[in-house]
Assembly symmetry: C2
Homo-oligomer: 337 residues x 2
């Protein structure tokens, strides 16, 4: 049961769009991001109460290295969608923002026109903690935006560590933005990001058209090889249902947006019709639960008094070669219980 | 303290080479591989007792897809090293062997000449369990072989799931064997195996010399790009200290072995002189301890009575969208404690 204040918050989030709803969304997300135990308990209740109102948005993940033009693209795309009657929310996963101080969405002026629009909601990356923590907060914020009725929720990430994997794991369609540069595709393959992509977009295609065409051919052939050679357990696409596509566009000149949105819409219709969209979300929820359990187990283990006391000494013994690592692990596990 | 029988086992393992030592090694490894709790406790004691005698072997990891010629290469290399006065042990990590029934080293006739040699010891992959379990057993078997004074311990793996990562994490030098085929290198990059390699060997180079030369150029340029673009946190090589090398050879015709062993020796001398060998082993031990802790936590969690009771219902609630995945995770964690 929600207390009256949180019930009012719930009602405002799920209520009519407008300044009151925007304030409620911001307040709900702030509650979710709090690390205080009492806040966390209230946030859990609020989340569960909002849950029935979620699940009707389309979740679009967008990733790419710094300089690829993500914010220009998202602003252009957001305004394009608003023109077509949609409401758009933009969230971000950027675990580096707390370190560098420069969140990818902290600087709101970056998407000035979009952020000022009443049909758009932009929230910067949670500024604290590990990738797992940042991703969890973003995932929960996504549910709040869904409950508030945004049609499209865009989750942006910069390619830091495993953040692309985290974003692909919370979205319906994952877009990888690339520059028309040699080596960029290799890097994406190496990091396993190419394999996550449902769509690859070559941005700034207007600057050097022949380089963009070359890059498109290279990435198309790489995607084909990845599809052919992929181990079954790694395969993310049933190749007969969806071949990842490669598109060229220029976010700055608003070129290629129709084509991009047509591809997204086609994907969404196909995945909805064949049940893959729901299947993917269920699998994501399941993986998310286990991911949080793993993180919670590790954190509880590290904070356990007996473990904390024995760990330094056992670590030293392992390092000095006086005790095997697996034996030390078993001793610590026994202390934990 | 070891009981008298295990003390005798310890003394035989660390004693003089010969049939008695071989039997003791086999018996010790069988004890390590046992899943019985009392065996496990004895195995832990034995491992710790053997530990001071370990650490003097060179640990060589060798991986490659089926058909690349791993067993021919390992047999040829093993005999080459024995001729030069070395004793050689061969272990394997193959988590698929329990499923397929066809362990990569189960068929001893595959390395007939090497397996018959008194200066060689060959042990097939443990036939049970997950990759983590198989890797742990192999890692402990490696320590037994070291305590028995083998100069070189070769750990072989076929490219299944993350087995290459597991083998790279227990060896001093990791070799990736490749065929002179297009696409093979892309596959290795995608799986992140190329990045793990200290040496890349193009086998069967005699069959099509021009293809082998092309493959060598391609892989060399891929390694250079991976090195340049690598994120600092992923970088495994300090590039100024060791550039991964690409060699061509023909295991069947025993061609290229001198060159291969010269590269291994150069690597070993360099890494020993600059302290990187010890540093890498320490880091591996540390990672191994935490890997086993993680696996142990998950296993204990899944077997906890309250968790087992609540898990099916909570999973259903998550699937039905009645409870958020992160909230379910927190509830289960609370039950665990």
């Amino acid at each position: 049961m929600l207390d009256p204040a949180d019930q009012a918050l719930h009602d405002a989030v799920t209520g009519a769009p407008g300044p009151r709803q925007r304030r409620a969304i911001a307040k709900a997300i702030t509650l979710l991001e709090s690390t205080r135990d009492d806040h966390r308990a209230r946030a859990d209740e609020l989340l569960n109460a909002l849950l029935p109102a979620t699940g009707r948005s389309f979740r679009l993940g967008i990733s790419g290295v710094p300089g690829v033009g993500k914010s220009t693209f998202i602003e252009t795309l957001g305004l394009y969608l608003i023109e077509r009657g949609q409401r758009v929310a933009v969230l971000a996963v950027d675990p580096s923002s707390s370190v560098s101080g420069g969140s990818i969405l902290g600087d709101k002026t970056r998407m000035e026109r979009l952020s000022m629009h009443e049909r758009a909601y932009i929230r910067p990356s949670p500024a604290s903690g590990t990738l797992g923590g940042v991703a969890e907060k973003t995932r929960e914020s996504l549910l709040v935006c869904e409950a508030a009725g945004y049609d499209i929720v865009i989750v942006e990430t910069v390619g830091v560590g495993q953040s692309e994997t985290a974003v692909a794991a919370m979205t319906d369609l994952f877009v990888l933005m690339q520059l028309p540069n040699a080596g960029d595709d290799l890097q994406a393959i190496k990091k396993g990001v190419m394999e996550l992509a449902d769509l690859v977009v070559i941005n700034k295609a207007d600057i050097d058209e022949s380089a963009a065409t070359r890059a498109r051919a290279q990435i198309t052939s790489a995607l084909r090889l990845l599809g052919q050679h992929g181990h079954p357990e790694h395969a993310r696409h049933d190749i007969k249902l969806w071949h990842p596509q490669v598109l060229q566009l220029s976010a700055l000149k608003s070129r290629g947006l129709d084509e991009f949105w047509a591809a997204v819409t086609h994907f969404r219709e196909l995945q909805t019709a064949n049940g893959k969209l729901t299947e993917r979300r269920h699998a994501q929820d399941h993986a998310w639960m286990w991911e949080r359990i793993d993180a919670g187990l590790k954190s509880r283990f590290r904070h356990h008094p007996a473990v904390r006391e024995a760990l330094p000494e056992l670590s030293r013994e392992v390092r000095a070669g006086r005790i095997a690592a697996s034996v030390a692990a078993r001793r610590l596990l026994d202390l934990f219980h």
